[in-house]
């Protein structure tokens, strides 16, 4: 195909990020997936209620995060002594024992980045549903899609389960409210992120900008 076959101002004109194939791309109907015909890369997912669903899961995730931060996470009973810990105490003891770099990384990957992402999803979805654009909407959306790779809520959930197995031979472990809240957070986080389709979101932002 020659260059002239493509209208450079066409809103559907897109490309595959993995193999550079030029194509016309529209958000697929719910339940369908758009894949690159050349390399098979998933380009877009059609999601029913594409804005309501991420909004609902992200709100639930934020509520669960508040609970996870304010209640005891785990406790152990050993030789008549009890030690309870919250998530923030786990991070501060790393800091206290000289692993300040690790403390900062754990806080960023486990608490900060996932929470900021969820707050961003809530803001973005409310804006798209209410059709009220604000300055900073475009950088916000761009930031969300870039931060995604650096959120480790799911990895931390697996880390907690591994720790439980390791500790169970040493002491009795009591699961706290925050433990269940964080597991719930990880599930809602994943549900919110996977129901967020970048092509659908960017098309909606385009439409908002054109109408305003």
């Amino acid at each position: 195909m020659a260059e002239s076959d493509f209208d450079h101002s066409d809103a559907d004109l897109a490309g595959c990020p993995e193999c550079d194939l030029l194509l016309h791309l529209r958000p697929p109907p719910p339940g369908m997936t758009a894949r690159c015909p050349r390399c098979g890369c998933v380009l877009a997912n059609g999601i029913a209620d594409g804005f309501v669903r991420p909004l609902a899961f992200a709100c639930a995730a934020l509520i669960l995060m508040v609970i996870a931060l304010n209640f005891p996470f785990l406790a152990i009973n050993a030789v008549g002594q009890r030690n309870a810990m919250s998530l923030t105490e786990a991070i501060s003891s790393l800091w206290q024992f000289g692993a300040d770099g690790v403390a900062v990384l754990v806080m960023a990957f486990v608490l900060l980045i996932p929470s900021v992402l969820m707050a961003g999803v809530v803001t973005l979805m409310l804006t798209l549903l209410a059709r009220r654009p604000f300055t900073g909407l475009v950088p916000l959306a761009r930031g969300l899609f870039r931060l995604d790779a650096w959120s480790m809520a799911d990895v931390f959930a697996i880390g907690v389960i591994v720790s439980l197995v390791k500790i169970s031979s040493l002491a009795d472990v009591v699961l706290g409210t925050a433990f269940w809240a964080y597991l719930g957070f990880a599930v809602c986080f994943l549900a919110a992120i996977t129901s967020l389709d970048r092509v659908t979101v960017w098309r909606a932002i385009d439409a908002l900008r054109e109408s305003s």
Partner: protein
Amino acid sequence: MTTAMRAGMAVCHICLAGNTLQRRRCRRCHGVLHARIPYSLQRTAALSAAAAILYLPANLLPILTTHQFGRIMDNTIIGGVVNLLQQGSYPVAIVILVASVLIPLGKIAALTLLCWAAVRGRGAMAHHRTILYRITDFVGKWSMVDVFVVAILVGLIQIGGIMTVRPGAAALAFAGVVITTMLAAESFDPRLIWDQEGHSRE
């Protein structure tokens, strides 16, 4: 089928919009555009090398130090796997072995292979190489499991005078391995795999 580059265009990696090559920022999301990531292979190779170097202290130094009844014990990652095997916790031992030992090594090897093939390859097996790239990108953050285990054990096991756990130097080195390999995978431009396929057909 034509590629964006041959049509004089650049694909935005954030919102997938096609843009004319003259633009520096995407018409839709205003993200910075690159027809190909600049110095992609050099960055990936350099970051993979950094990860390989950090892998040594991450495995040789203790990731945890246990103080139990006045006895001090250093635990390395491999030592932790051996302990779990002795306890009979095979599934968890396998999770740690895969996430902490095999995945980082596999990622460094895969990225090196991808860089080498992007320079020397003849566009053969582009599909297989793309799948290798996707796996490398996907498993990236899962190696962080062991660092999170350290965070929880250090916070929880503090029973005054009887048993305390302190973080070891390997924890930061290991987090460094994970972050550098994630950055290395992010700097690798998978479009370079497919550029060669075009050449071999012409």
